[in-house]
Amino acid sequence: MLAASSVATLLGMSLAVARKPLRADAARNVDKIITAARQCFREFGPEVPLQTIATTAGVGPATLFRNFADKEELVLAALNRQLRLTVDPVMDGALADMDAAAGLLRVLEALMAAASDDANLLCAVAGRRELLTGITGSFMESVSVLLARGQGQEACARTSP
């Protein structure tokens, strides 16, 4: 079951999991681990052991823990990558679109597709509000811009942004 905290995690993810630049080999390992995490969560569910993820990624447990302190950090990184890959480009297009309401709906479609694809990742961070500390909502800010523009174009109802 998704808790409200996981919902808020997804809505506020855009600025989450800031990382300092990695060396190329370290960056490749991070990429492999995140890819394996998405695959394992999809196949085995949110209770999948980190050892399984490391094995699937082809790295040792030490490499996984060097990059991710715990499962929550890995889950946040995986969610963050997917939002950057799938939602951010749609948001950029929407913000440049003359039809704000149409752009807003495309953003919501992309967000829901990402949430559906990685439902087990979301489930894994349910009920842990402390994960949201320090996360700001650039996604929601952009949604607010689109909604306000849509209202200005008289295409969106008076929902508060």
Partner: protein
């Protein structure tokens, strides 16, 4: 917390009532679109996908109530 934040939270919660990776969210998203647009779009609602009958899922009616378009 704004109306829009809560609407999005409600929408994402739909994922909790469907198989991961399914398109069941398309219908509730269309209903939200109907709610926030000043003019309702001239298109049928996406097909209703029943809530899975498995432990952990919310139980719901076999057939959707309300709008059937």
């Amino acid at each position: 917390m704004t109306d829009m934040f809560r609407l999005l939270a409600m929408l994402i919660g739909v994922v909790d009532t469907m198989e991961p990776g399914s398109d069941a969210w398309r219908r509730p998203l269309a209903l939200v679109e109907d709610a926030i647009r000043t003019v309702r779009p001239a298109r049928p609602l996406p097909v209703f996908v029943p809530v899975p009958a498995a432990p952990g899922f919310l139980t719901g009616p076999a057939q959707p109530g309300g709008r059937q378009d």
